[in-house]
């Protein structure tokens, strides 16, 4: 299961990538998605319910839902911030999350309220350990 070293992770299997400051505001922006492990556990994804631009998210609050053939799961925001954009391609091609969970299958881009929150998230090593434990349970 791929766990890229440059991302930070939640225990609920989301990742965030800090993309640097957005133009003008000086605030950091980030991209959020679900992990390779999460998409593998969910199976074929058929529908993603995501927030619209402008929506304010609290860290670890539910911001959307993801439906696979098997079941529905909630999406938790790894960080607080305002939604800049939701991935428009997911409406017609939710399977992008299965095919490319860290790339074309990203879910939202955020303007981070507090970049320091990122430091509290799991590192790639810590997340790898977590999924190893879950997989072995």
């Amino acid at each position: 299961m791929a766990v890229p070293a440059d991302l930070r992770y939640t225990r609920e299997h989301e990742w965030v990538r800090v993309d640097g400051p957005s133009t003008g505001s000086g605030q950091a922006t980030g991209t959020v998605g679900i992990t390779d492990y999460a998409q593998d556990q969910l199976g074929d994804i058929v529908f993603v319910d995501v927030p619209e631009a402008g929506k304010k998210l609290e860290q670890m609050a539910v911001f959307g839902e993801i439906e696979s053939v098997k079941a529905v799961s909630e999406l938790y925001s790894p960080v607080s911030g305002e939604v800049i954009e939701s991935n428009p391609a997911l409406a017609d091609s939710p399977e992008l999350i299965n095919d490319s969970p860290y790339g074309d299958g990203w879910i939202v881009k955020l303007r981070l309220s507090d970049a320091a929150e990122v430091e509290g998230l799991l590192t790639a090593d810590q997340y790898s350990e977590l999924i190893e434990r879950e997989g072995a349970a």
């Binding site: 556990q41 199976g43 058929v46 529908f47 319910d49 439906e67 053939v69 098997k70 529905v72 349970a137």
Partner: protein, 390 residues
């Protein structure tokens, strides 16, 4: 999000090692450890719709009834009059309580016999895994003074469903061209493969053509591997559920249970109710639930099971409320995403006046309204077979 089975107490089928070898994702299901998927539910679903797939259905109960009164015992507990089945024929029906509530939906076959068995015809009853023990015990309780014998074939055999437009060609190569080709829908026969007897019926739970095979447990894995080698896609419970839902085939525990009678869920056709016209003896003896089912047939039903298709994106799931004008009028009993139609489909109970095709209703998907329409049953019907392939 994890699917780890609570291993230890779960039963395993004779094909367990095959599932592990193929990377099947094992989950607990009705007391059994079963594969929910191998490569992916949508891919497996499409293999069955477009080519051929196979399912381990060894978890389903398989009971044989025979002896001088074997048939009478089954006539007592089944809604369909099993006495009408000639050898080599099968019928789907229900087993009901005295009040008409459904204990299980089952398939009963009158086994083909080359020579008449001196102890009476042999029947095979196939029950849902979740209800197998209950049906076995229920039949035993209703034996009364009948001279019926019983054999539990659950653990001693494996059962494999081979389904899809390519199923019959694969099976003809394996079991014999003429024997397989001449087997009509819902009929069963005995085949021989590698010196082993194989029971085969032209039945299934996917909406596709195909057969269900029963073979000695020790030979189950050998047959499974032979099918794999012939190019058959292994499919798990996930695809089995999406396929049966598209075909609008009911699932016990979801679309029916003890609180439902066969008429409410569209299974009236499986109930043989010979009233006995004046001056004529009833063709059929009494059976468990007969009085209640006669009343249910003639009464206006309180609810009807309908097919629902989403008009927008969103996925209905079992348990979601069905609303009309903001008020709950029913409940989704089965629901999910249809890989063939690309939208969400489901079944659910609604009041009879809302069961008309085209009726627009709303499903409450965790607080979000999903518009759905009542559509004809089934959602998917397989295209007619081309003549050159018969």
């Amino acid at each position: 999000m994890t699917d780890n089975p609570a291993a230890g107490t779960l039963r395993r089928t004779p094909l367990h090692d095959e599932h592990l070898r193929l990377g099947g994702r094992m989950v607990p299901f009705a007391g059994w450890e079963m594969p929910v998927q191998y490569s992916g539910i949508i891919g497996e679903h499409k293999a069955v719709r477009n080519a051929v797939g196979m399912f381990d259905v060894s978890h389903m109960g398989r009971f044989q009834y025979y002896g001088p009164d074997g048939v009478e015992l089954l006539r007592r507990v089944c809604t369909y009059d099993v006495g009408r089945l000639a050898p080599g024929r099968g019928h789907y029906c229900a087993v009901c309580r005295g009040d008409g509530g459904i204990l299980d939906d089952v398939y009963v076959f009158s086994l083909p016999a080359e020579v008449e068995d001196p102890v009476g015809r042999r029947y095979l009853l196939v029950a849902n895994a979740s209800n197998a023990e209950r049906i076995r015990d229920w039949a035993a309780e209703h034996k009364g003074g009948l001279n019926a014998r019983f054999q539990d074939r659950h653990a001693s055999t494996a059962m494999i469903a081979v389904q899809g437009p390519g199923a019959i060609d694969v099976l003809a190569d394996l079991l014999g061209e003429s024997a397989v080709a001449s087997l009509k829908p819902r009929r069963c026969g005995l085949f021989y493969w590698q010196g082993e007897e194989v029971f085969g019926s032209r039945t299934g739970y996917t909406g596709e053509d195909g057969m269900e095979l029963v073979i000695d447990a020790s030979m189950g894995p050998v047959l499974w591997r032979a099918l794999l080698e012939a190019g058959v896609q292994p499919c798990g419970l996930g695809a089995r559920d999406t396929l049966r839902l598209e075909a609008a085939l009911l699932l016990y525990g979801n679309d029916m249970d003890e609180t439902a009678n066969p008429f409410e869920v569209g299974l009236g056709w499986t109930v043989t109710l010979d009233d006995g016209a004046p001056g004529r003896a009833p063709v059929r003896a009494d059976f468990v639930g007969r009085e209640a089912l006669l009343r249910a047939r003639d009464a206006a039903p309180a609810r009807t099971l309908v097919c629902l298709k989403a008009e927008e994106r969103g996925v209905m799931r079992p348990g979601h409320a069905v609303l009309r004008s903001g008020k709950q009028v029913g409940k989704v009993t089965s629901g999910g995403h249809s890989p063939t139609l690309g939208v969400s489909i489901g079944m659910g109970f609604v009041p009879p006046e809302m069961a008309e095709e085209g009726t627009l209703l709303t499903v409450d998907v965790r607080g979000k309204p999903l518009p759905v329409r009542v559509v004809p049953r089934p959602f998917y019907k397989r295209p007619p077979k081309d003549e050159g392939n018969a």
